[in-house]
Every structure is written in C-alpha cells, then in structure tokens.
C-alpha cells in the first residue's frame, strides 16, 4: 500500500471534514433570524461574553468568507460556543463531561458484540441450512430489526422491574459518592449490565448476519475445497482458511460501524437514562440548545470520517494482495 494511497485517503478525509464543518455552519444560519437569535438568546451569557462571541464569530460581518472563516478558526481552536441548557458552560466542557459514560458503555459492548457476533455468524454461515443456523439467523434478524431501545425496554421490564436484579435506570445510585471504591464500582457495574446487554445484542444481530454472508461466500471458494481435500478437519478449514479470508471485508465493516455506533446508542441511553452523549443530544434537542447540538454533530460526524479512514488504511495492511 503505497504512501500515495495513504496521502490520498487522508486528503479525502480532510476534505470531508471541511465539508462537515461547512454544513454545520450553514445549518443553523439557515433558520430565520439566526444566528443572533439562536446563538445569542442565551440568558446565561454575560453581556461581555456576548460581545466576545459576536466578535469572534464575526456575526456582524457577511456570511462568507468572514463568518465562515471565523467559525472555522474558532472551531479549530476548540471553541464550539456556549451551552444554553447548561448555564453558559462551554460546549466543549459539556461534551467532555458526557463523553466517558458513553465510552464506558460502548467499548465493552463493541468488544462483546465482535466476539459473539463473529463467532455466531461464522458457525451459522459454515453450517448453512442446519438447525443451528436457522435459529441463529432468525434471532439475528429479529435483533437487527429492533432499535436499541426496543431491546432495552423488555430488558428493564424483566430484569429490573420484574426480577429486581438490576436498577432500572441511570449509571450510578445517587448518594454513594462517599462509599468505598469497591462499593461504587459494584454499583456502577450493576447499572451497566442492562444497557450493555441492550447495545451488545443489537450489534450482535448486525455483525452475525454480515459475518454469516461473508463465510458463506468464502465457503464456496476454491481454496476451501483444497483445504478440505487436504483432509483437514472441518474446524481447521473454517478457522485457518475460511475465517481469515472472510475477516478481510469484515474488518472494514466493523471499523466503519464503529463510527456509527454512538449515534445508534442514543436511543439506548435515553431508555436507561444513561448520562452520556446520547442523553445529551436528546436533551439539547428538547431545549433547542443549538450550540450543543452542533457540537455533538460535529464530533460524531468527524468520528465517522476518521473511522472510515481507519478502515481504508487497515484493509490496505491486512490484505496481502493490496499490501504490495
């Protein structure tokens, strides 16, 4: 994979990011009366802050290029505006405080989903048409058709409200901040289980369906026939020959999916009242906290672009045919 390829891909990514910033910029300028009305109707901002923003963002100057350039400069410098909902806190701070709860939820979910989903998908695809395959495929299809919150709600009803094993919402139980670390940790883990399960199950549905197709395609390749003709055990043929080849497109797909999973988890966070980026987004929507909405949109879109870029670069390294 040549250096030229890498540079090209990175350049494309940068262009896309600029386009995203532009879109973000235009989006809220499109509404009647903005940006003054939108960005500045924040009762929590002091008058001098308002003046500063007006100056920084060039709001009294023409849209292009002045406002845009001002916007880009401010964004690059990390200034995304001030939150309406959070009493004038900077958007960056607000996002930061909601970032880690989401990560603590999504990272384990992805790991679990990758392990379970790929394994289940492999076996389902390898033993296509078997009883196990039908069950696995049917389950995956159903899970894939369920928005995360639709998976989450029954989980709450059964395991939290019904059996009482887990709390029904939130990330922590209020009032434990003085308790021992272990108690707090345990409390956190108890709160984590159901939302983690909901998101994992949703992801597993998708991954196993895709992996199953990949394995089915690989299975009909000639080198798999050769491997079988070599008298290798079925499991070895799957693991050493089919699976590595099926994983090539899978890695790309997973990398790309990573970009979108945050967006997908929004509804899950709402159902469980998990104080992460999802809840933040929905709250911002409700309160029309446009600066925060813009900030989240920027963050999530850039994440997707970076994830796609990562996928492109990874594939180049994995497939020996592309590597040289």
């Amino acid at each position: 994979m040549s250096g030229r390829y890498i540079v090209q891909k990175i350049a494309q990514a940068i262009v896309t990011i600029i386009a995203i910033v532009l879109l973000n910029f235009l989006l809220f300028r499109m509404m009647p009366g903005s940006p003054e009305r939108i960005l500045l109707r924040n009762p929590y901002l002091t008058q001098e802050k308002v003046e500063q923003v007006r100056a920084d963002w060039g709001l009294d100057k023409p849209l292009f290029p002045d406002q845009f350039v001002g916007y880009v400069k401010a964004t690059a410098a990390g200034d995304l505006g001030y939150s309406l909902q959070f009493r004038g806190q900077s958007v960056v701070d607000v996002i930061e405080s909601h970032f880690w709860p989401t990560m603590l939820l999504l990272i384990p979910a992805e790991v679990i989903a990758i392990i379970v989903g790929l394994t289940a998908g492999s076996y389902a695809g390898w033993r296509r048409g078997s009883g196990g395959d039908k069950v696995a495929s049917g389950t995956s299809l159903i899970l894939y058709s369920m928005p995360y919150f639709v998976i989450g709600m029954p989980l709450i009803i059964i395991f939290a409200a019904g059996l009482g094993w887990f709390p029904t919402s939130g990330m922590t139980t209020p009032g434990l901040s003085s308790a021992s670390f272990l108690t707090q940790l345990f409390d956190f883990l108890r709160h984590l289980v159901l939302p983690l399960a909901a998101i994992s199950l949703g992801l597993i549905g998708g991954y196993s369906i895709i992996m199953r197709s990949a394995i089915i395609e690989t299975r009909s390749e000639d080198y798999v026939t050769t491997a079988r003709a070599k008298g290798l055990k079925d499991r070895r043929v799957l693991r050493q020959h089919a699976f590595p080849n099926a994983m090539l497109p899978m890695v790309t797909i997973i990398a790309i999916q990573l970009g979108y999973v945050v967006a997908g988890a929004i509804t899950a966070e709402v159902v469980f009242n998990w104080p992460g980026l999802g809840t933040l987004t929905v709250d911002a929507l409700e309160t029309r906290d446009y600066p925060v909405l813009q900030g989240v949109f920027l963050l999530l879109s850039v994440t997707v672009v970076v994830a796609n870029l990562g996928a492109d670069l990874i594939y180049g390294r994995l497939d020996p045919r592309v590597r040289s």
């Binding site: 050769t226 070599k230 008298g231 080849n245 020996p320």
Partner: protein, 430 residues
Amino acid sequence: MTAPREELGLARDLEARDRFADDETDPSVSSASDPVVALGDDAAPDGLPPGGIGERQSGRRGSLPKLAVPGAPLLVAKDLRTHFKLDAGWVKAVDGVSFRVDDGEAMGLAGESGCGKTTTALSLVRILPSNARIRKGSSIELFGIDLVPKTENQLRRYRWREISIVFQGAMNALNPVRRVGEQIAEPIEIRLGATRDRATRQSAELLELVGIPRKRAKAYPHELSGGMRQRAMIAMALACDPALVIGDEPTTALDVMVQAQILQLLESLRRDLGLSLILITHDLSVIAETCDRTMIMYAGRVAEEGPVSRIFTAPRHPYTERLLGAFPNINSDRRTLETIPGIPPDLLNPPEGCRFHPRCPAAMDVCREVVPPEVLFPDGVRVACHLHPAGAGGGMLISAEDVASRRMPPVAAETPAVGASPGTPGSVGK
C-alpha cells in the same frame, strides 16, 4: 528437477510413524514398531505384485494404509454413480463408471465440459457439493479398501495421504492470505504429525523438487506467476507422499510454453517418484503426451477406455473419433466430422439408450432405446457403442467386476500396439 524419492525419505519415515490421528476405526499408531506393509524391496513373497505393474518397479511407496488388502490394485471404481439433487430432480452426473488405475499408471480422463470427469475424480475423495449423493451399488476401492461406505471422518484419513488433487486455476485454489510455503507445510504438519520446523524444511524441499527456488516459500500466491503457482500446487499435492495424484485440468489457463513445462514436470515426477496419476482434461494432446491409458467420458458414462496408443490410433466410439479430429477409422466407411454438432445432453433428463445418440451421425434405432453395454476388445480397449458389439472383432461383454480385475477375453491376445508399456493387460494375461 529430479530428486529420487529417497530424498523425500522424510515423508517416508513420517509415514512409518503413521499418525492415524484422524481415523476413528484404525487404532492410533505412533510407534515405529507397528508392522507396516511395504512394496518395493519388501514386496509380497509371491513376486510381482498382482497390481499389474510388471517391470515398472517404482519402489514408490513406503507404506500402505493399514486396512489395505494385500495384492489389491491401487484404485478400482466399480459402477460409480454420483447424482446431484436439484429441486427439479436428480442430475445424473456420473452414471455407472468403472475403471481401474494401477500403481505407477497415468490415466487420462477426457471429455467435454459437463461429461462428469471432474465429478468422477472428486467422488474418489468425496469432495462434493452438499446436494451430491454417491449411489448405493457404487464402490471405490483404494488398495482394496472400499471408500464409499466410510464416514466423513474415516474417509479423511485417506485424503491427501493417499489421494491428492491438483486443482485447475491455482490462483483460486491457493489461500490468498497465507504464504505458499506454509500451505505446503500444513498437511505435513497436521496430517503427518511433523514438527513445524520439519514441515517447513520438507516444504522447501518440495518446492525445489518442482523447480521453485526455496526462498519463494515466503511468497503469497498472487506474487507467483501462473506457472509457478501450478508448480506450487503440485508440490503441495506431493506433501504427504500420496499413492495417487489427480490433476484436474492442471494446464488449462496456462499458456502453451508453461503448459509444456508443467507436463514435463509431471512426467519427470512420475518417473522418479513412481507416481500414479489421473489427469483430467479436455485437451487430448495432453493425454497423448503424459498418459498410459485414457478413459473418454460422455454424459456421465464411459464411451471408450484403454491404452492411449490404441485409442489414439484406432478409436472405436464415434464420439472419440470426433474428439480426436479427423482420424479416419479403418473399420468404418463413414466420414468423420471435424466438429461435434449439438450440445451435451441435459443430465437431469438424459436421452434414452445411448446418451450420445442425438448427436451421433451413425446412430441406429437400437441406439435410441438400448444402453450400449461395455465390450472389451483384445487390444485392451473397452467401448460402449452398438457399432462395436460383443463378438465382432473379438469383443467380449464385461462387467464392472471384470474391469476391476482387468480380465481378458478368452481369445488370444493381439500383439499390443507400439508404445504400450509392458504393464498393459494384454501381456499379463490373467
């Protein structure tokens, strides 16, 4: 490149250790003290192995499978039927095929696409699609061991170690994400139980044997040229020192120069290692160069089979004539055609009687109704055609059993045609 089999002694003593790790019937053998049947120097005391090798002492095999029947020929297929199940019915891809391959022989399997030659070969090791069935009544005997009733697990024991395959289009037949040397070493390590190191060394030797420099072992398949890939596949096929190698169109998709090299390689390997070969191809010139016997198949059945020299100089079956082009047939006053009109029949509903009759210019009424029986002629050629019935010219009806034992008709044998190896049935005269 010719390296005597002794240099592959590694495989031999690995064979002697005889890892039956995969086989559930045979008791696991891991000590060298277990008696191992050997050919060559330790041949059966009654002299010539009845497999009909004759003068061709290959000294090839270090050992036979445990269950091998002493004195049995290398491979016998009797009335092999492999059918595929479709929604619309059964496709009778291979429908009553019998043949025999002796130790050290090279048999060419020829015919148009779809005639069943590949399916026949794959049936031997049962690498078939999931909708395929080998019909009851078929038998495939490897050293006398019937493979048909074996379970998948039992059968695995014989794959690659006794019968290996060189597939066509080696670009797809090799795993694109693993190095070539690794893929060759894999069966040595897994099937023969060698250590990783030994397997790697052995794999390098095999590469050299087929004319690929050792250092290319670290290459990926796409980094090799077409010819080299095919050689690598041959090296891989030899990894476990098999008794029989099946080449499924091994030279198709290669240019003529490379084709010649590959054929030359196969020939020298045959000579030096005493390999037995089944070569599947639609190109008769390949068979003429490399094989001792040939079997012409049409629509899942045998049209004609026998020593290459005989079939090429005096083909009997009209289909064979056409395949060979414009060979005038002494026995007939028909004019042969250059091309074969029509298309191969639909094997879902094959024609009644002789399957070739819709395209045969010499088709008679009987051809449309009665399946022509196989008739063996004194020159060792077997034909299934109403134009060559039993009786005329010394032909005798034979059964699958007869094919297996290569029994000759009672009439005195003609002098074998020039070029036939001493191993043909005509001289053994059982």
